[in-house]
């Protein structure tokens, strides 16, 4: 996205849904479920779209409006630190292939329905047992710093007025 958008403009551009909107809707959904939400959390050279913290559990969500295969590449790194991993998707229909691949990997799927604006868990994730604890400690300390000193909000990230 190259130009600054107002909030009213942001949901769709040229009839196409924006990743920003999907991140916003999924974040709101998770907040309602008592997740503590952070956006664009840096993790080993990558940036996680949504990190949800609930109690001692860390949930990572990579949001895609298309090319969900790319999410699997990104999630590989998340396996070193996250307890649960989701792919957030906003296609009209959730691909059967995506469901099969996510189940294989133990990732969950959150679907945002662009027609009615509702979010829904399509696949439940498994508890990730590949966490390397020293790296998770590094991430937790980074999250603490972000909370302490602040970080760009979702609107900052996408430059929304």
């Amino acid at each position: 996205m190259n130009k600054t958008l107002t909030k009213s403009q942001v949901e769709k551009v040229d009839g196409k849904l924006l990743e920003y909107s999907v991140v916003k809707h999924i974040s709101a959904y998770l907040k309602n479920l008592d997740y503590d939400i952070l956006h664009e959390v840096p993790n080993m050279g990558q940036s996680v779209d949504i990190v949800g913290k609930k109690g001692r559990w860390l949930t990572f969500i990579e949001v895609k409006i298309h090319n969900w295969n790319r999410a699997f590449e990104q999630c590989k790194t998340h396996e070193l630190v996250a307890d649960f991993i989701f792919i957030g998707i906003a296609t009209k229909k959730v691909s059967e292939q995506l469901i099969i691949k996510a189940r294989e990997k133990g990732y969950g799927i959150i679907h945002f329905n662009p027609d009615n604006g509702l979010c829904e868990f399509i696949v439940k994730p498994s508890l990730n047992k590949k966490v390397w604890l020293p790296q998770r400690e590094v991430l937790l300390s980074k999250i603490q710093n972000i909370k302490k000193y602040g970080c760009p909000t979702l609107d900052d990230v996408w430059n929304i007025r």
Partner: protein, 445 residues
């Protein structure tokens, strides 16, 4: 090793002062900080460390935007060291710098070319050696003459050649080499040229043959070799064979030196002498960076902490390295890591018996960075992280050079195959295809 910045100067004696056979400086750096470089050579490297000054004459054949920098007021000006270099080189370089690229026809007049060659060689021979000879440390303790302190070789003016321009530039390069040999003043010096070509050149056997034929007919003592942006990790077999065909021709029955300015482990193997001949007599790179480089700078990019995996002979992003090692269960304790990944002094120092310290190869600071019209938070490796990665890299590189020149052909090929065998289950074969390409190409020599 190629000198990049003064911040890296302490690594030219790391792991020890005899690790490196020589240092390569770019002429613009020499022009920018001659006293600092003279002091570096006299005080921070081993005594009489061989060095080469790359005259960087190709810089003047590109669009002037390549050699200009933007000022605060938005206007552009020629970078000061480049401008000073142009003034020293004189002729068409001085006339056109910053306004238009020089062209082959600008050197059509033999007197113009002769003056240019003389200025370029004189600069290399004297600019640092005079300062080194005049330094306090030399006067008080070493008492070397300027002749003792001259560069390892002088590099005749050269230009970048592509498939479509080699026929225009090659005659100039050949003439410059011949003229270089005519000056009595430089007769005590080895005369090299620098062969800087596009990847398209090494893909065309006819062009490689023509370049080799014409350069073999000169009395050059050696060559620097640089293939624009060639990444040995992404290169196909045809490109790798093209590189060796060019270097073999330049070696001229293995009688001349050829130093690859930007090479990785494939070049190190090709130069080690275990595949019938040494196709290269030297391989250079920077401290951690510089195994590949584009002729025209394209900017630095975001530094990512990378861990050199010895078995893969490649720098790998920290998160990928961590994924690989975690999958293989090599992060369970320090002895397992030392046995399966790396046992170098830097890894032993960083890990110190506690495997959780492997994370120190990936510690970053996060900073918000403007990206397009928004912001993203990006991880930057800390100074300590960069130093750990760099020292580990240099430790392994030292081992690689020794390994390539002392092990048998079979042992070297087996080592590459081991890399494939040990990592293929986690990376897949596509990721490792470069190792298979290296095996296939080197096996045929």
């Amino acid at each position: 090793m190629t000198f990049g910045t003064f911040a890296e100067q302490r690594y030219f004696i790391y792991p020890d002062k005899n690790t490196y056979d020589g240092i390569i400086f770019n002429a613009n750096m020499v022009m920018h900080a001659p006293s600092g470089l003279a002091a570096f050579l006299m005080e921070k490297t081993r005594e009489k460390m061989p060095y080469i000054i790359d005259p960087l004459t190709h810089a003047f054949q590109h669009d002037p935007s390549v050699i200009t920098a933007k000022k605060k007021d938005g206007t552009s000006e020629i970078k000061a060291p480049i401008k000073n270099l142009a003034n020293v080189y004189g002729g068409p370089i001085e006339t056109f710098v910053g306004t238009k690229p020089v062209q082959p026809k600008d050197f059509g007049d033999k007197r113009v070319l002769k003056d240019f060659v003389y200025n370029v060689l004189k600069f290399q021979k004297e600019y640092l050696s005079n300062l080194m000879a005049d330094s306090d440390v030399n006067k008080k303790y070493l008492e070397h003459t300027e002749e003792d302190l001259k560069p390892y070789c002088l590099v005749a003016p050269y230009f970048y050649m592509t498939e479509s321009t080699y026929n225009l530039w090659l005659p100039i390069i050949v003439d410059a080499l011949k003229i270089s040999k005519e000056f009595d003043e430089f007769s005590s010096c080895k005369i090299f040229s620098s062969i800087v070509v596009s990847q398209g050149v090494i893909l065309d056997n006819d062009i490689v043959d023509r370049i080799n034929e014409q350069l073999q007919a000169t009395s050059a003592d050696g060559f620097l070799l640089w293939v624009d942006g060639l990444e040995e990790y992404n290169a196909g077999r045809v490109e790798l064979r093209g590189l060796l065909k060019l270097s073999t021709g330049l070696r001229n029955n293995f009688s001349r030196e050829v130093i690859n300015l930007h090479g990785g482990y494939f070049s190190i193997l090709a130069g080690g002498g275990q595949f019938n001949h040494s196709y290269l007599t030297g391989v250079a790179h920077g401290p951690e960076f510089g195994e590949t480089r584009a002729v025209v700078p394209v900017g630095g990019g975001i530094p990512i902490a990378k861990f050199y995996i010895p078995k893969l002979h490649n720098r790998v992003k920290y998160n990928d390295a961590l994924t690989f090692f975690s999958y293989k269960n090599w992060l369970v304790d320090a002895p397992t890591f030392y046995k399966n990944v790396c046992n170098c002094p830097e890894c032993r120092a960083v890990i110190g018996g506690d495997i959780t310290n492997f994370r120190l190869y990936g510690i970053t600071d996060s900073k918000p960075v403007k990206r397009g019209s928004g912001f993203v938070t990006i991880d930057y490796p800390t100074k300590e992280t960069k130093e750990h990665c760099l020292k580990h890299y240099l430790q392994i590189k030292k081992v690689e050079y020794q390994f390539a020149s002392t092990k048998t052909r079979k042992e070297l090929l087996d080592n590459l195959q081991q890399g494939i065998d040990e990592y293929v289950d986690i990376t897949g074969m596509d990721y490792l295809s470069y190792l298979q390409n290296w095996i296939t190409v080197l096996s045929s020599y």
